[in-house]
Subunit: 340 residues, 2 copies
């Protein structure tokens, strides 16, 4: 059983998932990359090799766990958190731990092994966005969960273990540290100014315009003012909404458009770099109704895209102090001009 442990000084929760691992000495062989499986369990026709699907976008008349799907969501065969059980919390001397209860799902973005997300037609990308939306909405109904993380690791250095295009969803019994900090920062700003900080950021970016990469009717993509990484991107909705899963169908299409275009710009402009993206959405309000009442007005969901063009040095992880060798204004200018 995986477990969650809390750092007593900074309050950060860590998943210790030792069931997934090899024995300690296996780590000595750190030059031995994990090989691709001989049979790709994510390709069409191999549905029987994966756990039964949780959700799929399918051709009319096709049956679950058979051919005919466009997007398929399945439980992760090697989950970092387990869906079954109760959230037993206990002290361990001065430390805190709890059972590793949660959900860990894989979103298979396409049946085609060699078609990256940005290379799909718009409707394909929209189906992936819709799968995210449906799964977040569903997982937040489970009152054991505080947060649902949706993210994509593209490339081995970015954390991907399989090359077939996929993203991941993890539902957690705690709100991750960075989310808490974003929520607290947004709340503090609202208390001081009675304005939404994300609305103010968007307004300043649009007025300044030097960091804008692309925009459409629903969304704006820009390089954040204090980007940690070269060519870091933020996709911000124009409409105030704390919860990603409450986007409407026209916004699903608009988001698919902007996601496809900016990922294509990265792909073509920077020679298909490894990257991660992450949806920052509001946590569950089930457990802390009073605490989160202001979320609707002070927080806005958004997406962070971080290309992995430089090494993440240990001191950056250890201190939270990043060195970015590219001016966000230069990165935006470069990406704006990449034709797609």
């Amino acid at each position: 059983m995986p477990e969650l442990r809390q750092d007593p000084v900074v309050g950060r929760w860590v998943i210790v998932a030792s069931e997934r691992t090899r024995c300690p000495t296996d780590f000595a062989d750190h030059h031995n990359h994990v090989p691709e499986p001989r049979i790709n369990p994510f390709s069409e026709g191999n549905e029987g090799l994966t756990p039964p699907e949780i959700f799929a976008v399918r051709a009319p008349g096709s049956k679950p766990n058979e051919r005919g799907w466009k997007v398929r969501v399945i439980p992760n065969k090697f989950p970092v958190l387990r869906i079954e059980g109760n959230l037993d919390k206990e002290g361990d001397g001065m430390y805190d731990r709890m059972n590793g209860i949660g959900a860990h799902e894989v979103v298979i973005e396409t049946p085609q092994h060699d078609q990256q997300l940005e290379e799909q037609p718009l409707e394909g990308v929209a189906s992936v966005v819709e799968a995210y939306r449906v799964r977040i909405a569903d997982l937040l109904k489970d009152t054991r969960f505080r947060y649902v993380l949706v993210f994509k690791n593209f490339g081995r250095d970015a954390g991907a273990a399989l090359s077939h295009p996929h993203s991941q969803i993890i539902a957690t019994p705690v709100t991750p540290k960075v989310m808490k900090e974003k929520l607290a920062g947004a709340q503090h700003y609202y208390e001081q100014k009675e304005r939404n900080i994300f609305a103010d950021i968007l307004k300043q970016e649009l007025r300044d315009s030097r960091r804008i990469v692309y925009q459409n009717a629903g969304f704006v993509c820009f390089c954040p003012y204090a980007s940690r990484f070269p060519f870091e991107l933020c996709i911000m909705p124009r409409r105030q909404l704390a919860d990603f899963y409450r986007i409407e169908s026209n916004e699903v299409l608009q988001l698919a458009d902007i996601l496809k275009i900016v990922l294509l710009k990265l792909h073509r402009g920077l020679n298909q770099p490894q990257y991660n993206y992450l949806i920052h959405t509001a946590p569950s309000r089930y457990a802390k109704k009073g605490y989160w009442t202001t979320l609707e007005q002070d927080f806005r969901w958004h997406i962070e895209i971080t290309p992995r063009l430089t090494q993440i040095a240990g001191f950056e992880v250890g201190t939270g102090f990043y060195v970015n060798p590219v001016l966000p204004e230069d990165a935006a200018l470069f990406l704006k001009d990449v034709e797609v």
Copy 2:
């Protein structure tokens, strides 16, 4: 001129050091590793190829910037922060920025290219520790600086650009985010319990003993309860002291001993993995005398060592939510048994 920019939501400062960089399109060539220079500027006899030394441990009678040194501290030729100038702070609409004033130094740990820190004799490691101590003490006298970071990146994935054994020192005009969180967590604990949290952690680790890797008269090395990374290590002094630079000469030797031994255990047990270490020491009290009065009793300096055996996935950086595949108790048991 590099600049510091602050994220308006979470308050994190980022160094944007675009002078160091190539043009944006160079990032497209992300498979082209930086080659080693043909002439190694860090080896003995090449002192003239580096900026003049700031500090050195030298054989009696040898002259600065000539042969005869054991450890040599020089300014970084490609600094992320500049030593000259004033700390101009300004708003940029709703954003905050300041001049990239600071110091960036390189500690050349040995004249020998192929001798890693842990392979040096004890006195050699002690000279490196003493160089850290002297430089931190000196840099904290500059009232523009709030913090002095001492860290080592070993291996390219860990952020090292040159293979000659070296570590780095960066003095910053702001206290890095993770340090602030550690200080705040420690202060909160002390307010609640009137006890030092690091003393309590050390006491529990010694009583429990399952996570202890090595100890000597002055220091204890253990795998933290909520380790983020496999085989993560913490070196904690037994004596309460907030500032690393105030260690005494016997502690310099004891620290050299424990550092040498645990790095040798990593080297031999895990096939010389890439790693980072980082000294967490108290910030300057110059600017905020009132705020930091309790530091002496509630904070304790310590060292974090993080081997890079797994990829740091983007979602971990983006959320602060780490997945560690090795139980800290298993990691400690394994390292304790590695003979050195």
